[in-house]
């Protein structure tokens, strides 16, 4: 365990060195929220709507509630994303650079998980500060009780883990196809929309929602955000938490199986 914590610490130090990333991340959130704000204010104003129908809410959502929901969705969406770690894994597999992990007593899966957490660690600090600011501006809309705080952190950890497993599986395709960064890009672009990063998935048509329920996608953004905003009560969602943990187990097993098959294909090209 100590060796993995060391990896985490090294990446944490590196992440703190490059603070520019955090500033751009902050700008990305505010800028993304500003665009959504413009669209939704146009919709609310033009129809003189007081609330909008949202799946799971009996009274619907007013404008401020919707903006807070989208704000938190953008934050969670960014925390679960990884451009850097997955790209690095693909390059390592393609160029035969994973030999060094194979001859050491270290798991490639957990090594990269610690990298994933470490690289994103700078965001955890900055986004927490931003979150505190939003709690101050909209006091009754986020974390109404201690359960929602605990529930949010549990489901956020699950979301990050599920997301990492999906990235790991995609990166493993490099064992067969060599260059697969385009799959990761396609996934990232698709997830911006499908996971609810820019628009709550609860606004999607029923048919789409029914399909999404059978995938781990709702646990990436929607579930943690719904708990934080009080749309879903943690005490009523034990079954959903169990289901999300089930996805963690399934995806971990799948990651290991695909990696083990892939490593048999691996020929250390370029070394």
């Amino acid at each position: 365990m100590y060796k993995y914590l060391s990896i985490l610490r090294i990446n944490w130090i590196q992440a703190l060195e490059y603070r520019g990333n955090a500033y751009i991340g902050l700008f990305a959130i505010i800028s993304g929220l500003f665009i959504e704000y413009q669209i939704w204010s146009l919709i609310f104003d033009s129809k003189n709507m007081a609330t909008i129908v949202i799946e799971g809410s009996t009274d619907g959502y007013n404008f401020n509630q919707l903006i807070v929901f989208i704000f938190l969705s953008i934050i969670v969406g960014q925390l679960k994303s990884s451009w850097m770690t997955s790209s690095q894994m693909i390059v390592e597999i393609r160029q035969g650079l994973i030999n060094k992990y194979l001859i050491r007593p270290i798991s490639y899966f957990w090594y990269n998980f610690m990298m994933f957490i470490g690289v994103n660690s700078i965001y955890y600090i900055v986004y927490t500060l931003l979150l505190l600011l939003f709690i101050f501006i909209y006091p009754d809309m986020l974390f109404q009780n201690n359960f929602s705080i605990i529930g949010f952190f549990i489901t956020l950890i699950i979301s990050i883990y599920i997301s990492y497993c999906i990235y790991f599986i995609m990166a493993c395709f490099a064992f067969w196809f060599g260059e697969v960064r385009s799959i990761v890009v396609a996934y990232n672009l698709g997830m911006l929309m499908i996971s609810g990063q820019y628009m709550p998935i609860r606004l999607f048509p029923k048919e789409v929602l029914n399909i999404l329920q059978w995938t781990p996608i709702p646990y990436l953004v929607d579930f943690p955000v719904s708990i934080a905003t009080g749309l879903v009560l943690i005490t009523n969602s034990i079954d959903k938490i169990i289901l999300s943990l089930f996805w963690c187990v399934v995806l971990t097993a799948l990651s290991k199986i695909i990696y083990n098959f892939g490593i048999r294909q691996y020929e250390a090209y370029g070394q």
């Binding site: 490059y18 520019g20 990333n21 751009i24 700008f27 990305a28 800028s31 993304g32 665009i35 413009q38 669209i39 204010s41 146009l42 919709i43 033009s46 129809k47 709507m49 909008i52 196809f177 060599g178 260059e179 697969v180 960064r181 385009s182 799959i183 890009v185 396609a186 672009l189 698709g190 911006l192 929309m193 499908i194 820019y198 628009m199 606004l203 999607f204 048509p205």
Partner: protein, 267 residues
């Protein structure tokens, strides 16, 4: 002048042939690249589909007009990626590693070389499919009539929009000369370009004025699509030409100023 254009065109053709053969080395990735485009198009299309559950009109744009806007945006994006998009963010690596030396030594304009060296050949397929789709959509939008004058202005407007797109990305990437390592330039540029990916009419009036002038994101996709949807607005068209030339000129200025700061890092 004619000789120079000819020469640069021949150089570009050589770049094209070279990158096409490189792309064919990774055929699966080539197919996936096309797949990415369609995922991206699909996700934005879906976004507006959900939005139109709640509203009939986004300012001047109704649902059909928004679809024309989206297809125009996809073409503008593909055109940019085809000609320039694969190069701009290599500027940071070239500066950081000192590889820019090799470009500066070549008997060619260094900005041209660094901006055009790699051609993203897969986008040709997207451009072809999207162009056919756009013609079909505009034809039915205008009650089955083909308004050729709109296309005559649309094509240059699309190209000038692409120059603005390029200028923004290039200027941001060139900041590497000052920051030494600016690997997040792509992310920052992507966030700024995002403003061009929504119809201008969603923004409030004061912000729209900004988007048509000092931060000309509406000039990239909204102006060409407005030409196709609402007809030619000469004032807007010439404003777009002026802004794109101005921004292109700023790129050359920044590139030259940046080169003066370049210290050939690792050589």
């Amino acid at each position: 002048m004619k000789h120079m254009v000819n020469r640069y065109f021949k150089v570009w053709l050589a770049f094209f042939r070279n990158t096409l053969s490189r792309d064919m080395e990774y055929k699966t990735n080539f197919i996936f690249e096309i797949f990415i485009d369609f995922i991206y198009y699909g996700s934005l299309f879906f976004f507006f589909k959900v939005i139109f559950q709640f509203i009939d009109q986004l300012g001047d744009f109704n649902q059909d007009a928004v679809i024309i806007f989206l297809v125009t945006m996809y073409i503008a994006d593909s055109l940019y990626v085809f000609l320039l998009g694969g190069n701009v963010f290599n500027i940071n690596n070239n500066i950081k590693s000192g590889d820019l030396d090799f470009i500066l030594l070549k008997p060619i304009n260094s900005q041209f070389f660094i901006s055009c060296r790699y051609v993203n050949t897969h986008t040709l397929i997207s451009i072809l499919i999207l162009s056919v789709l756009l013609i079909k959509l505009t034809y039915s939008y205008h009650d089955n009539s083909f308004l050729i004058i709109n296309y005559i202005f649309f094509i240059p407007s699309l190209i000038f929009g692409m120059f603005i797109f390029y200028s923004f990305e290039f200027i941001i990437a060139s900041l590497s000369f000052w920051f030494r390592n600016f690997s997040y330039a792509g992310w920052l540029a992507g966030e700024l370009i995002k403003y061009s990916r929504r119809p201008d009419s969603i923004y409030k009036k004061w912000f729209r004025n900004i988007l048509f002038t000092i931060f000309p994101m509406a000039m990239i996709c909204s102006v060409p699509s407005r030409i196709l949807i609402f007809g030619v607005n000469i004032k807007l068209f010439f404003l777009q030409i002026f802004i794109s030339i101005l921004f292109l000129w700023i790129t050359t200025l920044i590139w030259r100023r940046g080169l003066l700061r370049y210290e050939s890092a690792s050589s």
